[in-house]
């Protein structure tokens, strides 16, 4: 940590109106200190260099008195945060993911969900642009997005909860009576209705093109093929049940499983971009949307270390490559010298121990 911060502390991001933010620090001895504030970015940087915390956090909220105890802080506003964490976003209970062993394939999947959040919701629905939000690799199992637009920053938790519902639960069509005893699933042509309609159309029409069987009656398939917008679709009352199954599938595919607790919490501390995630050894990195395409955490978010360490490899369940060196299942039981970034990465995940004999 010292080696990294000696050369790279300047990369720790100083948020807008830093004096109004609460900072929190976790230390290697298990202590957590919060209710700390800094007047300037340079004060934060020298604090980090001196205290060498394991983790650095700052509040999404701005307070009148950021260093005061919670009840006296005087909440002013809070960025609207989204946390995309591998376990939740991928809806997986893979024990490797739980323990933080995340392969590039998984990171690619999380990125796809992140693009869904940005393209379909933050931009297409809320009308925000890249100037209104920041993206960061969390340094661990996913990504953070913070909306910094003023109106969103002033929302209370009730509306933040609605935003979570909008993104993570979606909206099943409302179904309304249509002409001649038929019913129409969609009541308008925008937002969730448009998204669901487009998904349904692609899914069903694609199935039909590949002549793969779907259990949707043909009349619905052709209705969908001819409808050019959501409100043009009407079906028989008896078709509702079968179409509802598809609509539920649409919800599963179109929603993004963000962490509700993070988004609705008006006082959340989130990891500071540019700081090291003490539990993973990767750097929490600010990214632009265009950076995301080529972004690979194990290449682009590693600590700036030149030294190396000798390890006794215990169990590295998947091949991990950092700075041209790698460790994997076949190295079990070996004593190997690797660069410090890779060493930190596997040691904190209990995949190896520092080889004391070598020291």
């Amino acid at each position: 940590m010292k080696e990294h911060y000696d050369s790279s502390v300047g990369e720790v991001y100083c948020p807008e109106s830093i004096e109004l933010r609460e900072f929190g620090f976790a230390f290697f001895i298990g202590q957590f200190r919060r209710h700390i504030s800094f007047k300037h970015g340079r004060d934060l940087h020298s604090y980090i260099q001196q205290a060498l915390p394991k983790d650095v956090y700052y509040s999404v909220a701005s307070y009148r008195r950021a260093a005061a105890p919670m009840a006296d802080k005087g909440w002013m506003e809070a960025e609207l945060p989204f946390d995309l964490d591998a376990e939740q976003v991928l809806r997986t209970d893979d024990p490797l993911v739980k323990d933080g062993w995340i392969s590039n394939i998984y990171y690619e999947e999380i990125k796809r969900e992140l693009f869904k959040l940005l393209d379909n919701f933050i931009e297409a629905d809320f009308g925000l642009t890249s100037r209104d939000y920041t993206i960061a690799f969390s340094g661990g199992r996913g990504f953070h997005v913070r909306i910094t637009d003023r109106v969103f920053k002033e929302l209370g938790s009730q509306f933040r909860r609605q935003i979570v519902e909008h993104v993570a639960l979606g909206h099943m069509p409302e179904w309304a009576p249509a002409k001649r005893g038929a019913i129409a699933p969609f009541t308008h042509d925008y937002g969730w209705d448009l998204r669901t309609f487009s998904w349904l159309k692609n899914r069903v029409v694609a199935h039909r093109d590949r002549s793969s069987p779907t259990h949707l009656p043909l009349r619905i398939v052709s209705q969908l093929a001819t409808a050019s917008k959501p409100t043009e679709l009407c079906v028989r009352r008896t078709d509702r049940k079968v179409l509802d199954e598809y609509l539920r599938e649409a919800m599963n595919n179109l929603t993004v499983a963000i962490d509700e607790r993070v988004t609705v919490d008006l006082n959340r501390l989130l990891r500071a971009a540019g700081s090291v995630h003490g539990g993973s050894g990767l750097v929490c990195k600010i990214l632009s949307k265009t950076d995301l395409d080529g972004f690979e955490p194990l290449t682009s978010a590693v600590m700036n270390l030149r030294s190396s360490k000798r390890l006794l490899v215990e169990n590295v369940p998947l091949r991990v490559e950092i700075k041209g060196e790698s460790l994997g299942p076949s190295d079990k039981g070996k004593s190997i010298e690797v660069n410090s970034a890779l060493a930190y990465y596997v040691v904190v995940r209990r995949g190896a121990k520092f080889d004391i004999k070598a020291i």
């Binding site: 802080k73 629905d125 009308g127 002033e154 929302l155 909206h171 308008h188």
Partner: protein, 384 residues
């Protein structure tokens, strides 16, 4: 019922208040939407006095209301030819009378909010129906002037900026019923047909009126100019609302937050996070706590984390709910329906459709836990 508003509308009001619409005069619009700026202007022009939306109305408005009531009392029912549906003076005075009655009556505050909720539900449903047949210009004027939300016309449809909507809607004490996910969103705009614009206006109007009543109740708490007719109306109302339904006894149980119903848990959680919650939600928390036998000091402490906490005021209000000061009436927690009407119930449906009261839900959870532990004890003894 014949709509005679055009025939009998106040000519002077029409002259003074030139509506932006050429087809409908503003007195007619005052009759249709008595809580709107049209209603307010009608009062100003034909009665004099203060703006309709002022929290406290002045004596001249009450005097005028009194005259209208006494006229109605003197006429034998059979001599009243018909009900003046949408007659401006009737509509506007009825609206003022209802709001004043709700604010100044001696009912418990949860009852006032509950009665208000019924009235607002009815009047906003009517507003939606009426707005649907208005011109786009009138709808836009209503949004702009009364809801503070500019609409942009795009042919047959209108659009509303999502940010404007959020900024406005998030300030209401009870948020609009329509959630974000149901709105027709397109790149930061809410795209509305006339029907949808009317529907959303109804929703926002409800939230606006609920907030207004809450403010009026707060102002009426310390007011000295309580209109004289309020007590007679309240006596008359006893026939419809037996007062016994408003008060009941506490059900002393140990305070177990894990058994709180979702609404109370949510409010307590929001308070703990220093969020400001609607007055009615605070009332629900305090009266719920009183009913389950929680000490007053514990409740005051719950509120000490609220962002707008003022120690003396909080103590005063909680003591009031506990029946220690004021009317010495201890208040009952609002029912599920009241909370739903005020949009404060966080779930769809009911925790238990047969109970419909947070305190009953709390007791039910106790019974469930007791039943489970009895069953568990039985299961253990069976295996031994």
């Amino acid at each position: 019922m014949r709509n005679r508003c055009n025939a009998r509308s106040s000519e002077s009001a029409v002259r003074i208040l030139e509506s932006k619409e050429t087809s409908v005069d503003s007195a007619t619009l005052a009759a249709r939407y008595p809580f709107s700026h049209w209603g307010s202007s009608f009062i100003l022009s034909s009665w004099g006095g203060e703006e309709l939306r002022e929290e406290l109305l002045n004596e001249s408005v009450y005097a005028k209301l009194g005259k209208i009531f006494s006229r109605a009392q003197r006429s034998a029912p059979e001599t009243i030819p018909e009900v003046d549906y949408l007659y401006p003076e009737n509509e506007v005075s009825a609206y003022i009378a209802i709001m004043s009655f709700l604010a100044y009556s001696d009912y418990p505050e949860n009852y006032k909010m509950r009665l208000g909720g019924h009235y607002f539900g009815w009047i906003t449903r009517r507003t939606v129906t009426l707005l649907e047949s208005e011109s786009q210009g009138t709808i836009r004027e209503y949004y702009q002037t009364d809801l503070g939300l500019p609409l942009v016309a795009q042919g047959d449809i209108v659009s509303l900026s999502l940010k404007d909507y959020l900024a406005k809607a998030s300030k209401f004490v009870s948020p609009p019923k329509r959630t974000l996910a149901t709105l027709p969103l397109r790149r930061g705009e809410i795209i509305l047909s006339k029907h949808q614009a009317a529907d959303l206006a109804g929703d926002l109007t409800f939230a606006y009126l609920a907030g207004l009543l809450e403010r009026k109740i707060q102002v009426a708490r310390g007011a000295t100019n309580k209109p004289a007719w309020i007590s007679s109306v309240q006596t008359y109302m006893k026939e419809f609302i037996p007062e016994s339904t408003m008060f009941d006894e506490t059900v002393n149980r140990p305070n177990d937050p894990t058994k709180y119903p979702p609404c109370i848990s949510l409010f307590v959680e929001q308070l703990a996070k220093r969020e400001s919650i609607p007055h009615f939600a605070r009332f629900a928390v305090a009266s719920f706590m009183r009913q389950i036998g929680v000490e007053k000091d514990y409740v005051v402490k719950l509120f000490t984390t609220a962002s707008d906490f003022r120690a003396e005021m909080t103590k005063y209000q909680v003591s009031h709910i506990y029946g220690e000061i004021g009317s010495h009436t201890s208040y009952t927690a609002p029912s599920c329906d009241s909370l739903k009407i005020s949009r404060l119930c966080p779930i769809d449906g009911y925790c238990n459709p047969r109970l419909k009261h947070p305190v009953s839900v709390y007791l039910w959870k106790w019974r469930l836990a007791k039943g489970e532990s009895r069953r568990a004890t039985k299961a253990i003894s069976n295996t031994e």
